[in-house]
């Protein structure tokens, strides 16, 4: 088992945003996380990546406890430490470094693996120069994999929407993850782009040997490529199973279409 979200619950004041989420991902799987707006999907991502600390429960990555910190001095893992252990993510509302170049956006992801010290970097010692060169080469490779290598000099903020989505994925890939969390990668795309994205996700899963957990509203995308699906509604896990099982699950239909539809 690669990831085990072990009975996660998080409360904000009186509101329980996610209740008792128990999710297990096996190595190499592509799993979907769906649910209506406000179901707590992104909150679940934020708990897995350490942005939020769950009120109860633990997050285990290959049996190692990676649960986030409640406060800067509390025990637990910071998001950057979790990234270093091999969990990368994209964001629902694209969060690129908009004033930096496409290449810099990707190279930054290699910074966590940098061995050279600050002085070595400022003085451009041979060790740093070698590392910088390697980082560049790797970044170009990742950009090639997502088809953005020609735009490497461009400012990230100037890219088209679909390109920005792909750059965000490229940046996440560059951290060299075992587990990739995609937060609505197809949002704002037309059906054809969605189709291309599906193929792209399949391709990177193979090429980068990834396990992927994906939040997505586009049912065609989810049902098309996910092997298993978890369904959240109002913070509760109302169903899990294969796409076929989910499509026929009455609670899921209820959650999506409202109670009246099934009546």
């Amino acid at each position: 088992m690669l990831l085990h979200a072990d009975h996660l619950t998080i409360k904000f004041g009186g509101l329980t945003a996610v209740k008792d989420l128990d999710m297990q991902l096996n190595k190499g799987e592509l799993v979907g996380l769906i649910g209506p707006n406000g179901a707590g999907k992104t909150t679940a991502f934020n708990m897995i990546t350490g942005v939020y600390a769950p009120t109860q429960g633990k997050v285990l990555l290959e049996d190692k406890d990676i649960t986030g910190k409640k406060s800067p001095t509390a025990p637990g893992m910071r998001p950057d430490q979790i990234t270093a252990l091999g969990v990368a993510r994209t964001f629902q509302n694209i969060r690129l470094f908009t004033n930096l170049s496409v290449l810099d956006n990707v190279i930054i992801a290699h910074h966590l693996h940098l061995k050279s010290s600050l002085m070595g970097a400022v003085l451009r010692l041979p060790g740093y120069r070698r590392e910088e060169k390697e980082m560049r080469e790797k970044a170009i490779q990742v950009l090639k994999a997502v088809g953005l290598e020609k735009l490497y000099k461009e400012e990230a903020g100037n890219l088209a929407y679909g390109q920005q989505r792909r750059l965000e994925i490229a940046r996440a890939l560059a951290t060299n993850p075992k587990l990739l969390l995609l937060d609505e990668p197809a949002a704002g795309m037309n059906p054809q782009e969605g189709e291309e994205l599906m193929q792209f996700i399949e391709a990177i899963r193979k090429d980068f040997d990834l396990t992927i957990l994906m939040i997505e509203h586009d049912m065609k995308v989810v049902m098309g490529i996910c092997e298993r699906i978890y369904v959240l509604d109002h913070g509760e896990t109302i169903a899990q199973g294969t796409p076929n099982e989910i499509q026929t699950n009455s609670r899921v239909i209820e959650a999506y279409l409202g109670v009246d539809a099934s009546a």
């Binding site: 950057d80 990368a88 810099d104 930054i108 050279s116 451009r124």
Partner: protein, 356 residues
């Protein structure tokens, strides 16, 4: 860096060095003083720009760190007899009393001492963001000043220190300014500098990319502040007399003005604006001193300079929020682009004239 830009940088450097030799020979003391001040301001503004512009942590504590550097530098370079003269109320604490060293080691120690204080202040303060960070760093800067005023036997309190050796000359000041420029350039264009910029752009995303926010913020803060320490030590040597009141928020304001004017996140912009602001600051003394036109004498208006500079700061932030350069640098391409635009403009104007 592009080849043309490199050549441009080398030409500018050689030109500046030649000018320094020329100035050293032919300029009077007043002009040399302004040039020293310009170099010091470049160091200070670059330091603040690393923190505020590149790492995006809006700190207002620069004057406090300058004060630490200035006092350290002054206390280490003052001769034992001068110290005795200064500290006539309370004698100076013993190990410092008979201690004197050269300018260079004093500056280096000033930088290190400032770095230690910056670290101790940065650890709590950099947990804060935005305007809270701004006000807390300003608060620490004021605390430093209050402490300096009260530690009679270490700093001579509000009387300040006088007869600080004036080691500074154009080669010291500009030598350190060059060092600061080169250091900042290599820092910002290294992997660490990229991490700073990523934090400025989006903290959440930077953290998700595996960047340890706290470590890098502290790094930027300590580096930028110790540059303030170096600037402060040079400043003390230029003034030859310092007291805690010099290091009020108004001083931070001046440096902030240079950074905002030049562009938060632009090295070359900062260099240019620090130089221009320094010269303007002196030149505008005209409005503060009495003027005689014929038989008419206009009294000088003291405080007018700062009015002009506050208006300038507000005008920039209201109408030109990115400053002259934004996050860009003056490169060969940048200059060409400007020239092309000017040419086009010229052409359009002639075309319009032709149409008429």
């Amino acid at each position: 860096m592009k080849k043309e830009t490199k050549i441009l940088a080398i030409i500018v450097t050689i030109g500046t060095i030649a000018f320094l030799f020329f100035a050293n020979q032919f300029f009077d003391g007043y002009k040399i003083r302004i040039m020293n001040l310009a170099a010091i301001n470049i160091i200070l503004a670059l330091g603040l720009n690393i923190i505020n512009g590149f790492a995006g942590q809006f700190s207002l504590g620069h004057a406090g760190f300058m004060a630490i550097g200035a006092y350290t530098g002054a206390l280490l370079t003052l001769s034992p007899s001068a110290k005795q003269m200064n500290f006539f109320i309370d004698p100076i604490i013993s190990p410092l009393a008979n201690f004197q060293m050269g300018f260079l080691p004093a500056i280096i120690i000033a930088a290190l001492v400032t770095a230690v204080f910056a670290f101790m202040i940065g650890v709590p303060v950099l947990r804060l963001k935005g305007d809270y960070l701004a006000i807390a760093s300003l608060g620490f800067s004021e605390i430093i000043r209050v402490v300096l005023t009260n530690l009679q036997s270490l700093t001579n309190g509000s009387l300040g220190l006088k007869a600080i050796p004036s080691y500074i000359n154009l080669f010291w000041s500009w030598g350190f300014a060059f060092l600061a420029i080169i250091f900042t350039f290599f820092l910002i264009n290294s992997s660490y500098g990229r991490a700073f910029k990523a934090i400025r752009e989006d903290e959440v995303a930077a953290e998700a990319m595996g960047i340890n926010l706290f470590k890098h913020k502290i790094m930027a803060f300590v580096i930028g502040s110790s540059m303030a320490g170096v600037g402060g030590a040079l400043f003390a040597s230029l003034l030859t007399a310092i007291d805690p009141n010099i290091f009020k928020f108004a001083l931070t304001f001046q440096i902030l003005l240079m950074v905002v004017l030049g562009g938060m996140g632009s090295i070359s912009g900062t260099i240019v604006s620090a130089t221009i602001v320094t010269i303007m600051m002196e030149w505008l003394r005209i409005v503060e001193s009495p003027m005689t036109i014929g038989s008419l004498t206009i009294p000088g208006i003291s405080g007018m300079r700062m009015v002009i500079f506050s208006v300038l700061l507000m005008a920039v932030i209201l109408f030109y929020p990115k400053g002259f350069m934004g996050t860009r640098e003056i490169t060969w391409d940048f200059i060409q682009e400007k020239i092309n635009r000017l040419r086009k403009k010229g052409k359009n104007e002639t075309l319009q004239k032709d149409e008429v």
